[in-house]
């Protein structure tokens, strides 16, 4: 009889693993001080299944003081460095208590860098166990079959190279993030006495730089004109639009000449050609393609997609989502997954079609991942009602999986060449000849069919009217969360687990405005300052080199100690150079911050006293915000305007069309709207105000009714 402790990463995973491992499928959940563990029986073994909450331990500096450089760290319980992580205290104490008299420790966290490190640190600091004697379960889905298989075939040793890589990643990220953020923040504090956290990091710096460079291109863009010629004709009573063979005409003169040449002339259908395009199914999803497709179809931010996919994984509905692989190895029981999906009414008909074809070899992509296969459904039925977002993502994953067994689709592109003297015009059509895999992937693979009008070669068409349209070249598009994440992946910055968070941080730090990744004045201030004084922080090169060294640790070709000491040396040089320019950096950041606050909080000159500036003020008594004159606090001017109390406020560079007062935008979690600072008195907004009053009365009535009940 032996006592095993199985360390899992999350409470949901612990429950699943306990359920799969208990021989009676009835593990008992033991609750202690708001946390719990599971007691299981398996053969002669007693199993204790405990859970972490992601990381239970974090790095902390060994030498006190909110300053830089600080390069020595130690691992401490997370609740010591993060107020919000109070629950980790009870979990660590529980694991500590249960670890006594355990014969074997088994790590069953997610199989990736973070999971392996979580297991290692829990063993070392909570269980006081020797990690070299611990065993490791590897699985890619939380289904019973995979868990049992992982338990029966567990490794005798932990995956130390992965742990070392995780270790150094945390240490380097801490070193760069903490020291650079402090350096920037202290530069502002020492210059102006303000305490405003100005954060940057190893990957955040280059990411900011990508956004800033794109923003510069957009702001410096000078559009150029070009002309498009369009001709129409009536054939067999059908109005048809023809496109001119040259898509962009460079000069207005040439466009006019073409229009003149074609107007009212007869054109002849010279030829009709068709081209068949065969398209095989898309490869299975990895995390990046799933995030990009979920953004395209549902507008989910990459971090949201990852969180939803993680929830589906913990419910054993899909395989592990943090994967780079676009391949499904032969070891995956495709038949079992299809049988499972066949029991779901949304997919039963499609599964039938696939099984009838009897080709159960999925299409594979190129990218691989040694730890996990591509993301795929497990075929397990949901044991709870999925949220609408989970349903959407699951459907996308399930259909992408089913499409892998479909035939290639065939699209026929038709083109009629219509000639008028030396000019050539086109008529285009598109017909789907065979839907193939698209029938499974619908509605995510929609192709708009366009019939070619009924015309034959040598038909004559009267071109009338013919005109030209002046258009302008467009600036490059701003990033969206999906395209920025894709760029980070292409540049090999961050990992599949961290990229989504970095993309979010650029916005949450105030470096960009709205969802379009438009650089804010604060983003500019930081970018400009770093660009001028410490370019290396923005350089993808520095962090890319570190990434490749961390990979080498994983491949066992470099040691953690060497990589860490080099990273420390480079950082100290950087900080030395920073310190020598601290005053200049501080001045530049302060100027940028002033611009930022002005853009966020200033609403132009005071209309009453003409001397002060209108700005956002918070009442010291009530904490409520309003717009007031800058002379308000000195009681020289009493001009005020009310403000909505919820949502972000952004002054706009335009005046109200009704009253002439400055407009501003309010962005709350649910909606975005524009109004003027005079909104309560503005003659054009009385209807709005009335609707708002009615809404408020209704809300108050509801609250009152609720209280009475």
């Amino acid at each position: 009889m032996s006592k095993l402790m199985v360390i899992t990463e999350k409470p949901t995973a612990a429950r699943r693993i306990a359920l799969a491992l208990d021989e009676n499928r009835a593990p008992s959940e033991v609750k202690r001080s708001g946390v719990s563990y599971y007691d299981c029986k398996r053969g002669n073994d007693d199993l204790i299944i405990v859970y972490a909450l992601g990381h239970l331990f974090e790095l902390k500096q060994t030498v006190k003081g909110w300053t830089y450089p600080r390069t020595e760290t130690m691992w401490v319980p997370r609740y010591e460095v993060e107020k919000k992580a109070a629950q980790t205290k009870s979990i660590i104490s529980l694991i500590k208590r249960l670890s006594k008299n355990v014969d074997t420790f088994v790590v069953a966290t997610d199989y990736d860098i973070e999971g392996s490190l979580i297991g290692y640190l829990t063993l070392k600091h909570a269980c006081n166990a020797d990690p070299k004697r611990a065993r490791r379960m590897f699985f890619s889905a939380l289904t019973d079959v995979e868990i049992l298989n992982a338990f029966d075939n567990m490794s005798d040793t932990l995956d130390f190279p992965l742990i070392e890589a995780g270790h150094v990643r945390h240490e380097i990220d801490w070193l760069y993030g903490i020291n650079l953020t402090r350096a920037l923040t202290l530069a502002v504090k020492n210059t102006a006495g303000w305490f405003k956290i100005i954060s940057t990091g190893r990957v955040q710096g280059p990411t900011l730089s990508f956004v800033a460079e794109r923003e510069q291109k957009i702001n410096l863009f000078v559009p150029c004109p070009f002309w498009v010629v369009r001709a129409r004709t009536l054939h067999d009573g059908v109005d048809i639009e023809l496109e001119y063979s040259k898509k962009r005409i460079a000069t207005e003169g040439e466009a006019k000449r073409i229009v003149e040449d074609l107007s009212g002339k007869m054109a002849c259908v010279e030829s009709i050609s068709s081209k068949i395009i065969i398209q095989p199914p898309h490869p299975p999803f990895n995390l990046s393609t799933l995030q990009s497709e979920a953004f395209r179809h549902f507008g989910f931010k990459p971090s949201r997609t990852l969180a939803i996919a993680q929830a589906l994984y913990l419910d054993a509905l899909i395989s592990y989502p943090r994967t780079s692989s676009e391949q499904l190895p032969k070891t995956i029981d495709i038949g079992e997954i299809l049988r499972g999906l066949g029991r779901m009414k949304d997919y039963a008909a499609m599964v039938n079609l696939i099984v009838q074809r009897s080709n159960l070899t999925p299409v594979q992509g190129k990218k691989t991942d040694p730890a996990h296969p591509a993301i795929h459904p497990t075929g397990t039925m949901a044991s709870r009602r999925l949220t609408p977002s989970e349903k959407k993502l699951y459907d996308l994953i399930a259909r992408r999986f089913l499409a892998l067994f479909g035939e290639a689709s065939e699209r026929e592109h038709l083109r009629a060449d219509v000639r008028c003297e030396e000019h050539l015009l086109y008529l285009r059509g598109l017909r789907i000849k065979k839907h193939g895999w698209m029938q499974f992937y619908e509605p995510y693979a929609v192709v708009q069919e366009k019939e070619l009008p009924r015309i034959s070669e040598d038909d004559l068409l009267l071109l009338s009217p013919v005109d030209n349209d002046e258009r302008y070249t467009k600036p490059p598009a701003r990033f969206n969360p999906a395209s920025l994440l894709k760029l980070l992946e292409k540049e090999n910055l961050g990992t599949k687990a961290t990229r989504a968070r970095i993309v979010d941080s650029i916005k949450s730090r105030g470096y960009t405005l709205n969802d379009k990744f438009e650089l804010s004045t604060l983003g500019y201030a930081l970018y400009e300052t770093l660009q001028k004084h410490i370019r290396e922080i923005l350089s993808p090169e520095l962090t890319r080199n570190l990434e490749s060294e961390m990979d080498e640790i994983q491949q066992k070709t470099k040691s953690r100690r060497d990589v860490l000491s080099r990273a420390k040396r480079d950082l100290l040089l950087l900080l030395e150079s920073f310190e020598s320019q601290e005053e200049d950096i501080g001045n530049d950041l302060v100027a940028g911050l002033q611009r930022y606050w002005k853009s966020r909080e200033e609403f132009g000159d005071c209309p009453k006293c003409g001397e002060g500036t209108l700005r956002v003020i918070r009442s010291s008594k009530t904490g409520k915000r309003f717009i007031g004159c800058s002379n308000y606090s000195e009681e020289k001017c009493d001009q005020t305007f009310p403000l909505p109390q919820k949502g972000d406020i952004h002054p706009l560079d335009k005046a109200c069309p009704y009253c002439g007062y400055q407009m501003f935008q309010v962005i709350s979690s649910r909606k975005k709207w524009e109004t003027c600072i005079n909104w309560t008195k503005c003659p054009g907004r009385q209807e709005e105000l009335k609707a708002l009053e009615e809404q408020r009365t209704k809300h108050e009535q509801k609250l009152q009714e609720g209280a009475e009940e």
Partner: protein, 77 residues
């Protein structure tokens, strides 16, 4: 220390504008030749057009508006 005529950044090389607006002015002047060839318009009409078109970059638009309002040394004839 002199400041940009459009924003409050410091000017470069004792010119009228900061680095960004100076760069925008350069591009605006360079591209005028393309516009002139394409549609034969003059400098003032060009500036008017740039101020109206949505695609015009913010710094370029600010420079165009500044030149229009000032009719200053950046004017081409």
């Amino acid at each position: 220390m002199s400041f940009c005529a459009i924003c409050d950044r410091v000017v470069v090389d004792q010119k009228e504008f900061c680095y960004y607006h100076q760069e925008a002015l350069g591009r605006l002047q360079e591209t005028f030749e393309d516009w002139r060839k394409a549609s034969g318009i003059g400098w003032e009409e060009y500036l008017d057009k740039l101020c109206q078109i949505d695609e015009t970059g913010q710094w370029v638009r600010e420079v165009a508006e500044h030149i229009k309002s000032k009719d200053g040394p950046s004017t081409k004839t």
